[in-house]
Each structure stands twice: as C-alpha cells, then as structure tokens.
C-alpha cells in the first residue's frame, strides 16, 4: 500500500504547472470568458507537450496512462481553470473509444487525438431539467446504411471547438441506461447555438440534429452502449473532480497569500482566527477531496469493486464542499474578492455548474446509499 505519487508523477505535475504558467496561467480562462476562443491555442500547446496522448493506448501512438495519471494533469489544469475539452476528450472519449471502437474507428481517431489533431465532446442531455440517464431521450432511427438522428441535445461542452461528439440515443424503448446506442459524430452536421452560461470559461451549446443521417458513426453495440456510457460518465466525473481539487488547492494558496499581505487594524488579516480557521477548514476539505479523487481514479483504473461508490463520494464532496470553499476564498478577500478581476468567482462558478451537471450531490449520495446499504 502506497498512497503517494511517484517521483515521475510529481515531475509530470510540476512540468504541467510550469508549462501552464508560462502560457499565461489563468489568463487563458480570462480570455475565454471575455469572448475570445482560446481552445485552438491551448490545444496546440498541450499537443506540443504530448499531453493529449496521455490516455491514448500505446498501440495507437499514445502513452497508455491510466485515469489516475490523467487526474494529475486535470488537477493542474483545474488550478488555472484551463479552457478546452480536456476532460471530455481525454477523460471521457479516449477510454470509450478504446473500449467500444472498431479497429477501424480506433485507427481513425486515437492517433489523431494523441497528436492533438482531434478533440471530442459529449452531448448527453435532451432535457436540461432532468437527471441522467432519464435526460437521454433522443431516438435514433435505423436507415439503410446507418441511423438518423433527430432532436436537440443541450448543455454540450465546446460543441463548436471539437471535431467529434459522442451522442447517446435511444434505439429501443427502454429506461435507464438500457436501450442506448452511442454515436460518434461530427458536430458540423448539426446546428450549434451557444448558451448563456454561469461558467464562461467552458462554453455550452445547444446542438440541433435536423434528421441528420450518420453512417459508420455507431460506437459499440446496438442498444448496448449504456453500460460503457455509464462508466465513461464516471470517468468524466472524476476528471472534473480532479480539476476542482486543483482549483481548491489554488483557492487555499490565494487565501493564504492574501492573509499574509492584506492588513486591517494594522495586522495581517491571516492573524485573525476567524480568517485563519476558515482557511484551515478550506485546507481540510481540499485534502479530503484530493484523497477521495485520487482513490476514485485509482479504483476505476484498477477496476475495483468499490469504484462506482468511490466516484460518487468524490463527486458530491468536490462539488458541494469545495463549492463552499470557493465562496470562502471570495469572502476572505472581502470586497476585492467580489470583483470580476479577482479570480475567485471563476472557480466558484465552475463548481456551481458541475454540482448539477453529472448528478447532483444528493443524487450521488443516494447512489452511495443504494450501493452500500
């Protein structure tokens, strides 16, 4: 039993951190928020560092690393709220392709992803008010040489900045994750409309398929993609948790720095117990969230029995507890923290978004209870 990072893993995190800082750090997120599209720039840089190859299997030109290793990358990305479909491409799509793809599909997409030439996202929701999997409603009709997709997916991340989107659709009347077939389609075939989002670093879209015919786009078995999808969503959850852990760590650092510098009543405010103890509690939750996230990533990578439980533990803890921690960071900064120029809100908005996007904290607690009790 050894729950530490290897030297190599530590070095990887450091080099990612150095690299992202050299690229401007959180300024990339700010530019994205202000309306620029920085995804190409970010991705080209990441590709130069070989990061998109991380989770791609060795035989397809990747580095064959597992979700834990990937999480270390996401943690650093989260520290600067890095824009770009990194969790969607590397955390969600690559393992799904590796699991379900035909040799042909793998040949076509995996090396391209590893080289940084292809980005992917996922279009889950047909109804933005419903939970998964109930929110998956689109029906795919079989045609002569493929399927016809008809309907509007919503809350699709980066729809205009990716080359492919995983689209789950129902091919059999069924509930839950049953009767779902996955499609790997070019979003250019659909009409994308950007939504007004709380978190402006990660754009979301409505993606309308107007009776779009797709052939060769089916990923995995007919009617039987649900199971793999469920696990892919778990991996996406862990990827987001890792980003939140990175953000939380950063929030603690920022509160500590401000606590040392900012003076009130002629003292640094970090000397006041109210501030000091609040930061101590933020640190506790960050460390707890990190442990839960690393373990969930490890459990998935090693196909442990408690993997699903571990994912839900990490997810509600990271979204709910860390969500409040980001608010504490803003609070520690006083009125300054409440301004657009302070970075606190970037993380807070991300946490508030993710707290509902792949299962609410309550849903994840219920999932834990259902497994454990």
């Amino acid at each position: 039993m050894d729950f530490t990072l290897s030297d190599e893993q530590n070095q990887m995190q450091e080099s990612v951190r150095d690299y992202l800082e050299s690229e401007g750090g959180i300024e990339l997120a700010r530019r994205q928020m202000d309306g620029e599209d920085v995804v190409d720039e970010v991705w080209d840089g990441l590709a130069e560092m070989d990061y998109p190859a991380l989770s791609v299997p060795l035989e397809y030109g990747g580095l064959g690393d597992d979700l834990l290793y990937l999480s270390l990358l996401f943690e650093e990305a989260g520290r600067v709220a890095l824009p770009g479909p990194l969790p969607e491409t590397l955390g969600f799509t690559v393992p799904l392709l590796a699991e379900l793809g035909t040799d042909e599909q793998k040949e076509q997409f995996l090396p391209a992803i590893a080289d940084g030439d292809l980005r992917a996202s996922v279009a889950l929701y047909d109804d933005a008010t419903e939970s998964l999997p109930g929110a998956i409603r689109m029906e795919a009709e079989p045609t002569d040489d493929g399927y016809r997709l008809d309907g509007t997916k919503t809350l699709v991340p980066y729809a205009e900045s990716v080359d492919r989107v995983v689209v789950p659709a129902r091919t059999r009347q069924d509930t839950g994750y049953d009767g779902i077939t996955l499609f790997f389609v070019d979003p250019a075939a659909a009409e994308a409309e950007q939504l007004d989002t709380l978190d402006k670093t990660r754009p979301l879209y409505e993606l309308t398929f107007d009776a779009v015919e797709v052939s060769g786009a089916r990923l995995g078995p007919v009617d039987g993609g649900g199971d793999a999808l469920k696990r892919a969503i778990d991996r996406l959850n862990v990827s987001m948790c890792a980003m939140l852990v990175g953000g939380a760590d950063e929030a603690v650092d920022r509160s500590v720095e401000y606590g040392k510098q900012r003076e009130q009543f002629d003292k640094p405010i970090g000397q006041f117990q109210a501030v000091k103890h609040r930061i101590a509690d933020m640190w506790l939750d960050t460390e707890a969230a990190r442990s839960l996230t690393y373990y969930a990533a490890w459990a998935i990578a090693n196909d442990e029995d408690d993997a699903r439980q571990a994912v839900s533990r990490a997810t509600w803890y990271c979204t709910e507890r860390c969500g409040e921690l980001f608010e504490d960071d803003i609070f520690n900064h006083g009125a300054t923290g409440y301004t657009w120029d302070h970075d606190g809100h970037i993380f807070l908005k991300q946490a508030k978004t993710w707290a509902n996007l792949l299962g609410s904290p309550t849903e994840h607690r219920r999932r834990i209870a259902d497994i454990r009790l």
């Binding site: 929701y125 939504l195 409040e324 009125a335 996007l357 609410s360």
Partner: protein
Amino acid sequence: MNFDYTDEQEAFRREIREWYEENLPDGWIEGDRDLPDDEDEREQFLREWQRKLHEGGWAAIHWPEEYGGRDASLMQQLIYQQEKARVNPPPERSEIGVDLVGPAIEGFGTEEQKERFLPKILNGEELWCIGYSEPDVGSDLASLQCKAVDEGDQFRINGQKIWTTHAHKADWCYMFTRTDDSGPKHHGITALIVDMDQEGVTNERIRQITDEREFNQVYFDDATTPKENVLNEVDEGWEVAMRQLSFERISLSQSLDLERRFDELVEFCKNETRGGTPLVEDPHIREKLAEFDTRIQAAKLTYFRNVSKQMNGDLGAEASFGKLYDSEVAADLHRFRVKLGGPKAALWGDDSPNGAAKDSLANISIRIGGGTSDIQRNIIGERVLGLPKGDQE
C-alpha cells in the same frame, strides 16, 4: 405581547397596498418584474418610479414632514416594509440618499444644507453616493487616508475611494476625509459634501462577479468643495460616521424579503419536476424547505421582537442579530436554490432556473458589505455580550 394590528394600522396597510396596486408598473404585481436591459432606459424607468413614489408621499416616510416625509412611526415603517416585501417593487433610485445621506444631513446639517439638499433627494432629482471605503481601508474607517486640505473658503481633496455604489451616476458625494493626521486616528476626520460634476473627480466602474457594475473607484485629484459643505464641525466626522446608524428609524432586515423568496421557492418546487415528480415531493427537499421555513420565521420573529423593543424605547444592540443571522440564512437559501436547478443550473441570465445563480453570487456581497460577518460576530461578542476586545481592533 400581541401579533395583531390595530384598525388604524390596518388602514395604513390598505393605503399602501392600494397605492401600489394603482401605481406599480403594468404587470409588476403579476410577476413581470424585468427592468429594461438598456442602462439609459433603466435609469429613465427608475427615475419615473422615484418620481411616483415622491408624489405619493412614499419616498421617505420616516423623514420629518417638513422635509417631505410622513413622520411615520416605527410601526408604520414596519408595515410599509412588509408591504414592500410583499410586492417587491422596483429599486428606489434615491435609496442611498434617503436611507443614509438624508439622515446625516438632517442630524448634522445646517438649515441651509437641509433646504438645499433634502428635497432633491426625495424627488430623485439628485443622486448621491457615499465615499467611505478606501483601497487599504476595509472595515477600519479610522485609517482613512483621503486628504482634504483647508484653503480658507474651500477644501481641496486628494485621494481615492472605492466600492462607491452608484458613483457613476451620482450628482453628489457624501464622503469622509482626513483633515488632520497629527492626533489619534479617530480625530481629524471630516465629513464633506462634494459635487461629483467637476474636473477633479473621475471614476472607474468596478465589474462585480455578477457581471454588474454598480460599484466604483472614485479618484479625487485636486477636487474642491466650498466650506459650507462641511457636515458637522471640521475634524469631527467620526461622530457623524458613528451616529450614522442610530437615527430614529427602523432597522432594516432581509427577513421579510426572505419570506417572499421562500414562498416563491415553494412555488418553484411545486411546478418543477424531475423524472415526472414535482421537487416538492422529494423527501430531502421537503426537509430542507421545512428547515428554511423555520429559520426564516426565526429571523422575522426576532426582527419583530427587536423592532418592538425599539418601539418601546429600548435601543438594544440586538439589532446586530439580523445582519448576521439573515445573511447566513440567505446564503444557505440561495445555495440551495442553485442546487435545485438541475443540470440547467449551468445557465445564466434568463435561462438560469429560478434566477438562482445570480442571487447566490450577489448574496456574497451582502455578507461582506457594511461589516463582514466576521465583524458582525466581533460586534455581538464585544458590544452585546461584553467579551474583551481583541488586540486587533
């Protein structure tokens, strides 16, 4: 103890209610409460509303009649607040002037100052901002550095103010300046009234995390104001600042607003479904709603208790209760509202379910502004309970 209202009080309530029904913008009571998106149109809208309020005699009911108020009793003020919370009218353009500047001028101003400034606060003709915080001075007013130099018939002002709400559209600034730094920190502060429309005053709007820009940085570079615009004596501004909140008027409370918001949330939970089931049938949500129901009633009842004490002449420090308690309840309520939004909580603006995202962000500022929750706990510990002051303060 008695929670009933007299016939006279009920008549007053009816008077307000009827006035609102007749005068609120079309559709407002029915729930169509969007303000114009365009800033100029919004200003025009608010100006019109302020004019109506003034004409109806509702712009400042707690002010003396001679200055355009109604000499309203605390009970009348409370009833007015209740009715206001019920219909959630448009914001009052002159709110800062009415609530904060007016009382200071009334309490410390000369007869000329009162006649010059008070009427135009009421009718909304002149807008005010308050120069209180400075970049390095958050909760600690005594450390302020913005300088005003006595030049005989006028003061020359140099320095910077920050978090100045509405400075970008204000005609006047009621501000605190340093006129003497030779003595103890609390001495040598002077309250000034300064014309915003002069070359020496520039301002920069601050973008808030809600993407609004209500706050400002205001720069004073050789700005001036004539001597007659000093409020109270020179160097005696600390007294004005300290008495700021002790004017004979009802303390404010979020609790009445929270009650309406809770009602709205219950409606939302009845209408919004997940998997075909209304949220209001979810056991977890039911229990949370019951918890909020109680905490909000506790806030409201304690507010009533404090107001009642005030009516009976007991100006206890208990007023410190509401600022802290209410804003903690509000913070939890708004966070909960966001969670109820489902995946759609990722959206902003009109698509934000229940408008919760913005409220939950805006609430942070309520916990920070006017003395953070930390400061409120110090105040309760020290002033209400008599615990020893920390070295720090």
